[in-house]
């Protein structure tokens, strides 16, 4: 797809030349892990009984890391939308529109760059969670394949969120609108999911809603891998179904981005 390469390179260059982006993108999840993750100690809270609610996680950081990685994808994905609006406001988009490139490459390049950013952030976050005292405790049976599957889950969820925010931005000219939308959806997406709390602790209507939230799919997939590594039959089928949901949604988003941007991206 002509245009995708050079446009993605542009995004990545702008990102690594401005370390502030990376640092700001990391600070918030680091706070979540260190502060919120240490806010309550599962062991102190009631031992094995409570621990069973948390999928047998040794500590809360281990439980919530899958959720935090997912939410990092959500926050960073939002920037792909903002960048599209920036280019429109500054006039740079006009250059792209008169060039013989696929219209959708303008949007896909943003999404891909966003996914790359998220993967880098996720790697750094996992490293931080591992080194802090009382931090992340990965299952001893966690393999390289598990690591790849975890990356795949992060990849899909960040693709999904980046696509959603890009589609919103395709016709938009005002930065405030997308900021507003993002702020509006962040909280419900985060709390109406299994990102931070197990479904068994939730009021039943919330756990029902959370079941259909893609944040839950990704958070649960990562969690299963981290806590158990080697999955049992029923865990495996849960994991597989979440991954398949994510995959289906990713494909839907690819098609949606393609058609909306090919016909809809205008000055």
């Amino acid at each position: 797809m002509s245009g995708l390469g050079p446009l993605t390179i542009r995004e990545i260059k702008k990102w690594y030349r401005n370390p502030v982006y990376l640092i700001v993108g990391l600070l918030q999840p680091v706070f979540w892990i260190i502060l919120f993750g240490s806010a309550f100690d599962i062991a102190k809270f009631g031992g094995p009984f409570v621990s069973s609610f948390f999928d047998g996680a040794k500590d809360y950081i281990t439980y919530m890391i899958g959720g935090i990685l997912t939410i990092t994808g959500l926050f960073t994905g939002m920037f792909s939308g903002i960048n599209i609006i920036w280019d429109r406001r500054l006039g740079i988009l006009q250059r792209f529109l008169v060039s013989p490139i696929k219209r959708s490459s303008i949007v896909f390049s943003r999404i891909i760059a966003s996914v790359v950013r998220i993967i880098v952030q996720v790697i750094i976050l996992v490293a931080i969670a591992l080194v802090i005292p009382d931090g992340l405790k990965i299952s001893p049976s966690f393999t390289a394949v598990d690591a790849l599957l975890m990356v795949a889950a992060v990849l899909m969820i960040s693709f999904i969120f980046s696509s959603i925010f890009s589609i919103i931005a395709i016709r938009m000219t005002r930065m405030e609108t997308i900021m507003g939308i993002t702020n509006l959806v962040n909280l419900p997406l985060m709390f109406a999911s299994y990102a931070l709390f197990p479904p068994d602790l939730m009021v039943s209507w919330l756990s029902t809603v959370a079941k259909y939230n893609p944040v839950s799919w990704s958070a649960e997939s990562i969690r299963l891998l981290i806590i158990y590594g080697n999955l049992t039959g029923s865990q495996m089928s849960t994991f597989a179904s979440y991954m398949i949901y994510l995959l289906i949604l990713t494909v839907v988003m690819i098609l949606l981005v393609y058609f909306v941007s090919e016909s809809g991206i205008k000055e």
Partner: protein, 329 residues
């Protein structure tokens, strides 16, 4: 040979604003064609339609044999565009911007590098290619924009207000660059402007556009000649004297303006002026002042649009310009 031909090209924006209405123009290969008009006359909309940035509401155009509605990608390959706004990314180096554009056209790397080097040379930016665009001055930024439109060796180059917001000095330098580019590369250039002098200096042919319609097309000389005559203005002591002067038989048209001023249109002031003076002497009146005006594009514009061109920048343009200037810092 005709390289661009439009057929009733029309753009109506949502809300019913007719920006361009039934535009029919023909542009010849390798000429510099100027679209002259006030702010909001439809110049930019015309350029945006011809460069495939926006779709026309109705009508069509043929650009180098390609259909504007059907062969957009083919047209994009053979045109170069320099929009009014700055389109380069200030966070990248000059050369990186140019390389990105070269990649849009799938130009092989060695060829692109040579091309970029040559282009930077044409606009005297060779030493600046490796610097970030954010460090460029306003004039340098515009020069970079100019060559951004030339990376793909286009057959046709569109320049939308290429000197908007530049000071007089920088502007005349830009004119030189534009002329050089036309000469060296042999491209057809379509230029819009609301600076009369700019169009007069650069364009081989001009169309005057107002309220989305073309009023007249021709060479600057033919447009001036179409006014048929020079203007002689004379001021007298009294109304009686002015009346006597007005009866000069060689005048094509003579009116009294003010209390005792005569405005006279004559075919050629060079030959007519001595005769006017002889006539006045014979009638025993003498003027206080005499002023002769050869037709300028200014007068042409006034004649066809009924108002003179406003060279000031309108507030919206000013806002965008300031936004761009801020980005330069």
């Amino acid at each position: 040979m005709t390289i661009i031909k439009t057929e009733d090209l029309t753009k109506i924006y949502p809300g019913g604003t007719k920006a361009v209405e039934d535009l029919n123009i023909e542009i010849e290969e390798a000429e510099i064609y100027g679209l002259l008009g006030k702010n909001g006359a439809g110049k930019t909309t015309t350029i945006k339609m011809l460069t495939t940035a926006i779709d026309p509401t109705s009508g069509n155009a043929v650009i180098d044999g390609y259909d504007l509605r059907k062969d957009k990608d083919k047209i994009r390959r053979i045109i170069g565009v320099v929009p009014q706004d700055l389109t380069t990314d200030a966070d990248l180096k000059g050369i990186e911007n140019l390389r990105m554009i070269a990649a849009f056209y799938n130009i092989p790397r060695p060829e692109a590098e040579q091309r970029i080097k040559d282009l930077l040379e044409i606009v005297d930016l060779s030493d600046w290619g490796n610097r970030y665009v954010s460090q460029y001055s306003g004039g340098m930024r515009k020069r970079l924009e100019l060559i951004c439109g030339l990376v793909n060796s286009p057959k046709i180059l569109f320049l939308d207000e290429p000197t908007l917001g530049l000071d007089v000095n920088t502007r005349s330098k830009m004119w030189k660059y534009i002329k050089d580019i036309q000469k060296e590369l042999g491209v057809t250039i379509i230029l819009t402007s609301h600076y009369l002098e700019e169009v007069d200096q650069l364009a081989d042919r001009i169309s005057i556009i107002d309220h989305g319609k073309i009023l007249i097309t021709g060479t600057p000389e033919s447009l001036k000649a179409s006014l048929k005559g020079d203007i002689v203005t004379m001021e007298f002591q009294s109304k009686e004297d002015a009346d006597l002067a007005r009866s000069y038989p060689g005048a094509l048209e003579a009116t009294i303006t003010g209390s005792s001023r005569v405005r006279m249109k004559v075919e050629n002031s060079d030959t007519e002026l001595p005769r006017i003076l002889a006539y006045l002497m014979e009638k025993n009146v003498s003027p206080i002042t005499i002023n002769v005006k050869k037709p300028s594009l200014d007068e042409v514009f006034l004649e066809y649009t009924g108002s003179s061109i406003d060279e000031d920048i309108d507030p919206e343009q000013f806002r965008r310009m300031m936004q761009n200037v801020r980005r330069l810092r």
